[in-house]
């Protein structure tokens, strides 16, 4: 009897405020569920996009450095052919023209790749902006402002709470979720619509960087071999006394040779970029992918910086 009275009272006299609480709770639940719909993880997207932006900047510098070595190696090969004693003036002119043509072809290709790198950089910049927590901070703050105003509008609503949490805070959190859900869905839609394009782009990027890196290492090796032969090996094989700075020359050449393989950082960074993107698309255990990418890109940035410093010291 007492229970019937209690239940009856609860339903018959359901206050307006209680209905509001129930509605708000339902809205919060829907918004919370919606926020998971995108299956996109903005934090990882952001880390990927930031690493991608850094990569595109370092990549441009790397391409220019590869060209410097390309031309230096070309000049060394021309110098070697110049030593042939049976060449006429016309023959030499022909050799010079032929190799100039090849070098200029390469410069054109690398220019095109650099220009294409700008398009890739714009893509990463946009992805970074959308996935960045700063990117949605304005909308989130506006949503929180709106929630606060709703709270102020009704004194009874403002004073009440759900599960001990003030209505204003609940509304603010729910609106934050809604903005997050909007962003997540935009990222998920982007993945669905463009995965094939970005995947193809990163495969091609990796192939280009692999080829350039292999050639850069080959060029650098030949240039170093020549320098070592001239400054270290030939003086040592001769019967004459060694030059005063022979030890220093030997140290410089040996250490430089040991560092040649570091150029692989570019190829590694391009590969990690593709792998990290594939992991983002699959959506499982991909933190390692982004961490590997960040580490590979850092190695590339260090290599490019060290190379530039070495070129300044020994132009």
């Amino acid at each position: 009897m007492r229970t019937q009275y209690w239940v009856g009272k609860r339903f018959a006299m359901l206050p307006k405020l209680r209905r509001t609480r129930v509605t708000l709770f339902a809205v919060c639940c829907i918004v919370f569920l919606l926020s998971g719909c995108g299956a996109a993880r903005p934090g990882r997207f952001e880390a990927f996009a930031v690493a991608g932006t850094t990569y595109t900047k370092a990549r441009g510098e790397f391409l220019r450095q590869s060209l410097e070595l390309y031309v230096d190696r070309d000049s060394l090969e021309l110098r070697k052919q110049h030593a042939a004693t049976n060449l006429s003036v016309a023959d030499r002119q022909q050799l010079l023209d032929a190799q100039d043509k090849i070098v200029l072809e390469r410069v054109k290709i690398v220019d095109d790749l650099e220009r294409h790198g700008d398009v890739l950089r714009l893509y990463f910049a946009a992805l970074s902006q959308l996935s960045s927590s700063k990117g949605v901070a304005g909308a989130e703050s506006a949503a929180s402002g709106l929630a606060a105003e709703i709270g102020k509008l009704s004194e009874s609503l403002g004073a009440s709470s759900i599960g001990g949490v003030p209505i204003g805070t609940v509304l603010s959190r729910a609106s934050g979720f809604a903005i997050g859900a909007f962003r997540n869905r935009a990222l998920a839609r982007h993945l669905e619509a463009n995965a094939a394009t970005i995947n193809r782009e990163l495969w091609l990027e990796e192939e280009a960087l692999r080829l350039i890196t292999e050639e850069m290492i080959a060029d650098q090796t030949v240039l170093r071999n020549e320098a070592r032969r001239t400054m270290v090996t030939v003086p040592y094989r001769a019967d004459t006394p060694l030059p005063a700075d022979w030890e220093k020359a030997r140290r410089v050449q040996l250490l430089a040779e040991a560092g040649i393989a570091r150029a692989k950082a570019a190829q590694d960074a391009a590969r990690e970029l593709r792998l990290a993107y594939e992991a983002l698309c699959k959506g499982a255990n991909e933190n390692a992918g982004v961490t590997d990418l960040q580490s590979a890109v850092s190695r590339l940035v260090r290599f490019v910086g060290d190379f530039a410093a070495a070129q300044t010291q020994n132009p």
């Binding site: 070309d74 070697k80 052919q81 030593a83 042939a84 004693t85 049976n86 060449l87 050799l95 032929a98 190799q99 090849i102 072809e105 390469r106 290709i109 095109d112 294409h116 398009v119 714009l122 893509y123 946009a126 992805l127 902006q129 959308l130 949605v136 304005g138 909308a139 506006a142 949503a143 402002g145 709106l146 606060a148 105003e149 709703i150 102020k152 509008l153 009704s154 004194e155 609106s175 903005i179 909007f182 962003r183 935009a186 982007h190 619509a193 463009n194 394009t197 970005i198 193809r200 782009e201 091609l204 990027e205 280009a208 080829l211 080959a218 090796t221 030949v222 071999n225 032969r229 094989r237």
Partner: protein, 123 residues
């Protein structure tokens, strides 16, 4: 059980043939750059040395041309992908603009409610 036929230059597709040639040229050039080869060259009669120097130049140019050809084909593919990449970027920018619009609408609604709460203290 099928018997595997060993690959011959004629049976390789063009890109595989190019890769194999490039690899072979690169290895030959590496051998020609070894101390052993270079010092042995100095000991050769002048005519042989000249021929070796010219051969090295020819191998080098062929290697470079093949390499440029390969890189140019990758460049062409990247350029072909460029329109799609720009489209993807535009879509991301559109989503960023939509987010900015949401922010604008929310701010407008906040301003409206702020004004309303002053006019009507209790709902």
């Amino acid at each position: 059980m099928a018997t595997l036929t060993p690959a011959t230059p004629g049976s390789l597709p063009p890109h595989k043939l190019r890769d194999a040639m490039k690899r072979s040229l690169k290895e030959t050039l590496e051998r020609m750059d070894s101390d052993e080869y270079v010092f042995a060259l100095d000991a050769l009669p002048e005519a042989d040395r000249n021929a070796a120097l010219i051969t090295r130049g020819e191998l080098f140019r062929t290697w470079r041309q093949l390499s440029n050809l390969e890189l140019a084909s990758i460049r062409d593919e990247l350029v072909r992908n460029e329109a799609e990449l720009r489209k993807a970027t535009d879509q991301l920018n559109a989503a960023i603009q939509n987010l900015a619009k949401v922010e604008k609408v929310l701010k407008a609604a906040t301003a409206f409610l702020a004004a309303a709460s002053k006019a009507i203290p209790f709902l």
